[in-house]
Symmetry: C2
Subunit: 199 residues, 2 copies
């Protein structure tokens, strides 16, 4: 796909250079595959551009996305591009509620968001992946209004948020929103995930 020309030039008084320097808030949502995968694909570009990447992974399974993590860490360690920090909010931190652990997950979610706010304020990273972060808002552990307000006040960092059930307020605030629609999935045909494909 070629690089397109803007469909319109905004009357915002900014030059193209200034507009290019504006940080992007991207949201990958929908019921299909590719939300997180595309976020890590974007991180490849960010790495290549020398950006400091921070991944905050709100995931359940310790096996999930180990491939992306290994690859991104290898890139960060290569010294050729940007840096990569990768944070997992704990193997016990699951939005699939288990008996007796639901409150802990909410607490961990809030703690994770608090760290992201501190990093945004300190300018720690240029490119954030907040993986599966939509669920934290979906379940009300962090108010979407607070996320939108915080991100709206950020200075220069690109942010990619993934997950189902992205709230309208977040979509409204985002610059780039893609809905990954499920058309067909191998598990529909009873196939299990495969190494190199699913993790």
């Amino acid at each position: 796909m070629p690089q397109g020309k803007p469909e319109q030039v905004p009357d915002d008084g900014l030059t193209t250079r200034q507009r290019r320097a504006q940080p992007v808030l991207a949201v990958h949502t929908g019921l299909g595959k590719g939300k997180s995968t595309a976020a890590f694909g974007m991180a490849l570009r960010a790495w290549s551009a020398g950006l400091r990447i921070g991944v905050f992974q709100f995931v359940k399974s310790p096996k999930w996305k180990v491939g992306e993590e290994a690859a991104m860490r290898a890139l960060g360690d290569s010294g050729k591009g940007g840096t990569v920090d990768w944070f997992k909010m704990g193997e016990g931190w699951s939005w699939l509620a288990r008996p007796g652990t639901e409150r802990d997950h909410a607490v961990e979610a809030v703690e994770g968001w608090a760290q992201i706010k501190r990093d945004l304020a300190a300018g720690t990273y240029d490119f954030y992946v907040l993986d599966e972060f939509t669920y934290v808002m979906h379940w009300g552990w962090v108010p979407v209004e607070e996320v939108v307000e915080t991100l709206g006040a950020r200075d220069g960092a690109h942010v990619v948020i993934t997950g189902r059930y992205a709230k309208d307020e977040l979509i409204e605030a985002a610059d780039l929103v893609t809905d990954m629609g499920k058309v067909k999935h191998p598990m529909d045909a009873g196939r299990k995930g495969q190494k190199g494909i699913e993790w």
Copy 2:
């Protein structure tokens, strides 16, 4: 997203182990962002699993996706995971004796597909990214029936095909299809692509 259980167990006489060894044909289509990006994200996992990756980029812009290419090549060069070969139609296929960029796109596309067929037959790669390959079928340069037949006869390689206008026959043949729907794009607001985000 947690690893799910299959919704049904197929009556195909295969064990889970055998079913896991089945190669995946994935198609990322739709009008939104993330089709190629998610394919390269999948390649991260493939690299981590030690697979031999072959990327065939059916695009003309020399600037497009240089970030992904740099990152994937750095991974391939790291010696820690799988290998990465990356071929671009836009610079003339590098396996040709006299690659050039001023030749007929249809001819170049057919040459690319011919090489992919040779590589599939020879078992050169375990994981193929056929980037923007849907257009080659959409424009009739390579018949979709031939692609489906060839991929149906392949032995063990995972294949990811990206691009708009995926034909019904290809979707029918695929195991995993995601439609990337455009909800919102920065260029709608007159913003130009940014380094680290768009390339």
